[in-house]
């Protein structure tokens, strides 16, 4: 009897839940809040021990602020900086000291003022070996942080570098009064402690957290900008899959999604009531040719490979147009991109001619080119779990087969492949870099980055080394534009890596929302200004 009653109750509850859900969609919109779907993990509000991902930083920036914030104007020129917690700043004449004055109205959410002590405390934490922050290298040029007075802080720098402002402003300012009670050595052992002791200086505070599901951000009443944030509450909902995010948007359960895949974006494009936006990000995907292997030693062969591969077809079929064919490691959305480079056009006959000129012929008649008895047969590796790149590898295989080259695609676990690439234990491999606006590319192309480093192609060129060093030493990056253009010209001609594409980031939102403007720096950029019409 009891099981029957229980079953009936269960059925009734299930029916009620279904009907309840069906009716819920008729409830009028609450214009004081917004739900955002994205792929994120937020295990701790302490960025120094949190995951180094774009979405994590995007969320962290809602709670904490840096001294200065990079503006998304890198298409127009070298990075510029907007005041955040610092109202203004100035360099000494020798550019070895930077003095910043804090905003007088900046306070933590518990009412305590933001002071220079917080800035020094943050620097100490950022550089502490036990905290082991991933980006502690960005503080290497800072010798000391001096508290001049409660509202003034001075950075003592080791050298006058063009990256000084970037180095100073990397990392958020943390609340000393709330977090100093926990020794740095214990920070990594309990990331959850920082939730319990969270005070914020940014536009939002944390109202509620359901691990793995959602973060509820509430308006910080102590935030210094009048009238912001415009919405009272932002609910961030997590999903691990682009398709799941798309379904949440299409069913009206979230109002905004970011991090969409190209296939899912097509489901959203042209849907009434929704707006899809594609915007540049800082990534580019490339194939590195290991110049220590016999197939890739000469630039002529590498240029022939560039002509043999149809990258536009990849952009059209894999990315459905939500990407651009790449032409340089300084991507097209960055001020220093050399737009004068003539792209290597897909031209199989020209590729065949170039290969023949480089000595590659089918001497044994097996359909595969060879030179000095070495058949043009190599492994083309990429990361497991990167479906777009895997599809591209298949296309490259077919393109190269058409000119007599046998490329064998292979998926490798990411950590293993990175290690192999750093050890130069690979033939050719597809990977991706995210370029930062310092445009310091020494890690990728300088000959000093060959042993164990990220100069995967083992590419060495004294002129490239000179240009890279010269640019890195210039206090004013814009003065190095010619160097950067020349650098790109050489890389374009030498082709140690073939840039395949520059993907666009995809986000979609309800058309009734205004001021939604994600950018390469953050999918939640200007979140405090988002609002319903």
């Amino acid at each position: 009897m009891i099981p029957v009653v229980a079953m009936r109750l269960l059925a009734a509850a299930g029916l009620a839940a279904m009907l309840g859900w069906g009716c819920a969609s008729d409830i009028p919109r609450d214009t004081t809040r917004l739900t955002v779907g994205m792929r994120f993990e937020y295990p701790t509000p302490n960025e120094l021990i949190g995951p180094a991902t774009l979405t994590y930083s995007a969320i962290g920036n809602q709670f904490f602020l840096p001294l200065m914030a990079e503006r998304p104007d890198f298409r127009d020129g070298p990075p510029t900086w907007a005041p955040a917690l610092a109202a203004d700043w100035e360099f000494s004449e020798d550019r070895l000291r930077l003095t910043a004055r804090l905003r007088p109205d900046a306070v933590w959410s518990d009412g305590e003022p933001v002071t220079a002590e917080d800035v020094r405390f943050s620097w100490l934490a950022q550089t502490d070996a036990n905290v082991a922050w991933d980006y502690s290298f960005s503080k290497e040029s800072i010798a000391d942080v001096e508290v001049v007075d409660a509202a003034t802080v001075r950075f003592h720098l080791d050298a006058a570098l063009p990256t000084a402002l970037a180095d100073v402003s990397t990392g958020l300012i943390l609340p000393k009064h709330a977090w100093e009670q926990r020794p740095f050595a214990e920070w990594r052992s309990d990331p959850g402690w920082f939730f319990e002791n969270l005070v914020t200086s940014g536009p939002f505070l944390l109202e509620n957290r359901t691990p793995g599901q959602e973060l509820v951000l509430g308006r910080n009443p102590n935030y210094f900008e009048d009238g912001l944030p415009r919405l009272e509450r932002i609910i961030l909902r997590s999903a691990t899959d682009s398709a799941a995010l798309t379904n949440l948007l299409l069913s009206g359960e979230v109002d905004v999604v970011s991090g969409l895949g190209a296939t899912d974006a097509q489901r959203i494009a042209n849907r009434p009531g929704l707006r899809l936006i594609a915007y540049p990000n800082r990534q580019f995907t490339f194939v590195s040719w290991n110049t220590r292997r016999p197939w890739f030693q000469d630039a002529e062969t590498r240029r022939a490979l560039a002509m043999a591969i149809d990258r536009q077809a990849m952009v059209d079929t894999i990315w459905h147009g939500y990407a651009e064919v790449g032409n340089s490691p300084i991507i097209s959305s960055v001020w220093a991109h050399n737009a004068g480079l003539e792209p290597w056009r897909y031209d199989p006959p020209a590729a065949r001619d170039a290969l023949a000129a480089a000595g590659w012929t089918d001497g044994d008649g097996d359909g595969i080119l060879d030179r000095d008895g070495v058949p043009f047969r190599f492994e083309l590796a990429t990361f497991a779990g990167a479906p777009a790149r895997w599809d591209a590898m298949q296309m490259i295989q077919a393109d190269l087969r058409a000119v007599g080259i046998d490329a064998q695609p292979r998926r490798v676990e990411p950590g293993a492949l990175i290690q192999r690439m750093r050890d130069k234990d690979f033939d050719a491999a597809a990977s991706a870099f995210a370029i930062d606006t310092s445009l310091d590319l020494r890690y990728a192309f300088h000959s000093q980055s060959i042993p164990g480093g990220d100069n995967y192609a083992a590419y060495g060129n004294p002129e490239v080394d000179r240009l890279l060093d010269s640019f890195a030493a210039r206090p004013d990056p814009s003065a190095g534009l010619e160097d950067l253009h020349r650098l790109q010209r050489i890389l374009h001609d030498d082709q140690p890596m073939l840039v395949l594409w520059e993907p666009l980031s995809l986000a979609a939102f309800d058309v009734e929302l205004e001021s939604v403007a994600p950018n390469a720096l953050s999918p939640l950029a200007n979140l405090q200004e988002w609002a319903w019409r």
Binding site: P43, G50, Y135, F137, R188, D241, Q419, A444
Partner: protein, 321 residues
């Protein structure tokens, strides 16, 4: 009985240790460096620092003994390389949603499976029976991810009969207990149904064959001779006859449900063990992968043990020695 239970528990503990050791060996010997920085600007010294912090600079046997000791003595699975969280906390958050989903899926698969099996057994070899058998094979053959995607597209996005994902509505923490329970139920029924469908076909086929087999036994004929209705014969006596075999299926379906949960959780954005495991595998988060494997093993071993114990109760032919 107590001796039987103790013996099985001891065997389970040994099996668990074997699983732990094998999992550690496989993960440790796999190529790749979990500390390799994803951003090329991060210098190699940072990886060295993190290796030292996580004890990865120690020889492998020392790492193994330290890890095993921490697990066995303190149930301490270390810290996630990806998020820095204690793994036990991370999985403590992820386990209840998975258990809820798997439990509901188990219920769905038995309700559906037994129901369909009964319908088929009432009229063996009829068109209805044939339809049930074909449908059972069909759902058994369809991959969970495809069924899940279709279910979301049609029932959730298209018809609005269910949420398209998640375990609760946005800001559900504000709901009262009853509304919160209904909210979870509204999110649960579709993924549970999808996950349960894969094994429901199997249950239906077993139920059907057991019931038909029962009708031909002496007990079945005797029940009919006593004038019991066909419904009562099948529902009461037939299902009692089928119960041990169906119970055995439950222990078989436990690992299938867990692996299916990984897929269902991703499709339905369900925040459980499967989602946590998938993220860990994708990012080389070894402590989470090891712990999730162990949790899965514990669940499967426990389900098998529970099924065996129940079986001894249900089937008098089985004696505990």
């Amino acid at each position: 009985m107590i001796r039987f239970v103790l013996r099985r528990l001891l065997a389970a503990a040994v099996l668990f240790l074997i699983v732990l050791t094998l999992a550690f060996a496989v993960v440790a010997l796999a190529p790749g460096d979990p500390m390799a920085p994803s951003d090329p600007r991060i210098p190699p010294e940072q990886a060295e620092r993190l290796r030292a912090l996580y004890g990865l600079d120690q020889p492998l046997p020392a790492q193994y003994l330290r890890w095993l000791g921490a697990v066995v003595l303190r149930w301490d699975w270390g810290q996630s390389y990806r998020t820095g969280q204690p793994v036990a906390d991370l999985l403590f958050d992820a386990l209840p949603p998975t258990l809820l989903l798997a439990g509901a899926a188990l219920l769905a698969q038995y309700l559906l499976g037994i129901g369909l099996g009964l319908i088929a057994a009432f009229r063996p070899n009829s068109r209805l029976d044939l339809s049930v058998r074909v449908a059972s094979l069909l759902v058994y053959a369809m991959p969970t991810f495809w069924v899940g995607l279709m279910a979301v597209l049609v029932l959730a996005v298209g018809l609005g009969l269910a949420p398209a994902g998640g375990m609760t509505s946005a800001a559900a923490f504000e709901l009262g207990p009853a509304a919160a329970a209904l909210d979870v139920l509204a999110h649960l029924w579709l993924p549970a149904l999808v996950l349960g469908l894969s094994m429901a076909g199997d249950i239906a086929r077993y139920t059907r064959s057991s019931l038909i087999e029962f009708q031909a036994t002496e007990a079945g004929r005797a029940a009919r001779a006593r004038g019991l209705s066909e419904t009562r014969i099948l529902l009461v006596h037939g299902l009692a006859h089928a119960a041990p075999r169906l119970l055995q299926l439950a222990s078989v379906s436990a690992p299938l449900l867990l692996s299916g949960a990984v897929v269902a959780e991703v499709v339905f954005a369900w925040p459980g063990l499967g989602t946590a495991t998938l993220l860990a595998i994708q990012s080389g988060d070894i402590p989470v992968v090891l712990a999730a494997t162990a949790y899965g093993a514990v669940l499967v071993i426990a389900a098998s043990l529970a099924a065996d114990l129940l079986l001894t109760r249900l089937d008098p032919r089985i004696r505990v020695e």
